[in-house]
Assembly symmetry: C2
Homo-oligomer: 226 residues x 2
């Protein structure tokens, strides 16, 4: 049953989504310092100068909405990957790490090229006022929490919470910033979609290899130091 | 022999340095988006509204000057560490990695608390317009180039330049962003100087362990895949 309200809210959802895509692109390519809320509205073709405020109240809510949308898409990939696996504590370290890394990679392949989210997120996590939003929305979800806990608990290692937090931080920094770095490269080189997907999968494999090596070395050091 | 010109240029150097310290602190704590050149001048106690432009011409030159100063200090530590070591290619991987990581750590211990440079640099490297300055000034110096080349050349491994570049990027991202993360933590917790120095040394040791594990795993994967 179609009614005028439905058309209005579809148009509103369209404008909202368009503003989010535009903001992400402008922030990713020019940084937070060089992009105003008003420029985002204009670049998104909104004639009303307060369109961004109308849809999001302000910059921070706009940024949270972008983070939440990508986090939800990434979580869908992670859920699909984790649900057939059973008890996470029974998985090998590489399989646990795969569940952390590959949903991010799959999300980027799905986004296609050019994407902007990788660079957007890398800027959010170093911006003092925004960092917590990224951690809450995307980098410390319940599924990631369970994975990290399983990694820390395996074989009774990683019991020191400070060392556990450091391992997590290293994995998070590698995933966030290497993703942003590949995204920049692909934006410059503009390869065909298949080549880009291959580059994302290569990054995924490298991150899994590197992370397993990193954790193995930290575990060995912890075991040796008692 | 003292003359009026010397006093003027000492005052000018003092103002220049004060502006740099102030800019670093404001950018680190509030991000590039929330800090104007004029606010930096005011916060540095400059009565002339164009003081920052007078000393640096503009934001980018100010940022380059801050990067160059810290890069020079870090290089002094690296030079002191490397000069007695002889042929870099003869060093073990952990010793090569130590020469990459520890000069950054020593520089932070020397800066004392609170420091701002770690967070400043992390923001610079993700800011599209500034990233290249950081790479040129600080993250790709001749001494680092020699160290990375020695790492790639050892035992004939790491010959694939794409894989070599990825290893380097991972090490760089870990060092830059883990340094910023510890700096934030210390700024929040404000421990005594000795405790802070211990935390920096612990991070240095963890980065060396993690990086050696990461490179070892990437090498093994490369050797296995031919």
């Amino acid at each position: 049953m179609s009614h005028p309200g439905a058309a209005v809210s579809a148009r509103s959802a369209g404008a909202r989504s368009l503003i989010m895509r535009t903001a992400e692109r402008l922030y990713a390519s020019r940084g937070f310092a060089d992009v105003s809320i008003r420029q985002i509205g204009e670049a998104a073709g909104q004639r009303n100068k307060s369109a961004v405020q109308y849809h999001f109240t302000g910059r921070d809510e706009l940024i949270k909405a972008i983070l939440a949308e990508h986090a939800a898409a990434t979580e869908r990939h992670r859920f699909a990957m984790m649900s057939p696996l059973g008890d996470l504590a029974e998985l090998s370290l590489p399989d646990q790490i795969r569940c952390i890394v590959l949903p991010r990679i799959e999300h980027h392949i799905e986004l296609g090229s050019p994407s902007w989210y990788g660079r957007f997120l890398a800027q959010v996590v170093v911006e003092p006022a925004l960092r917590e939003y990224a951690l809450e929305a995307h980098l410390n979800t319940p599924s990631l929490r369970r994975l990290y806990d399983a990694i820390h608990a395996r074989q009774g290692r990683g019991r020191d919470p400070v060392r556990g937090a450091r391992r997590e931080a290293m994995i998070r920094q590698l995933v966030v910033h290497m993703t942003a770095e590949l995204e920049s490269e692909l934006a410059r080189e503009q390869p065909a979609a298949g080549v880009a997907a291959g580059a994302w999968r290569r990054l995924g494999a490298d991150l899994i290899t590197a992370t397993c090596g990193l954790i193995g070395a930290m575990d060995a050091e912890e075991a040796a130091s008692g």
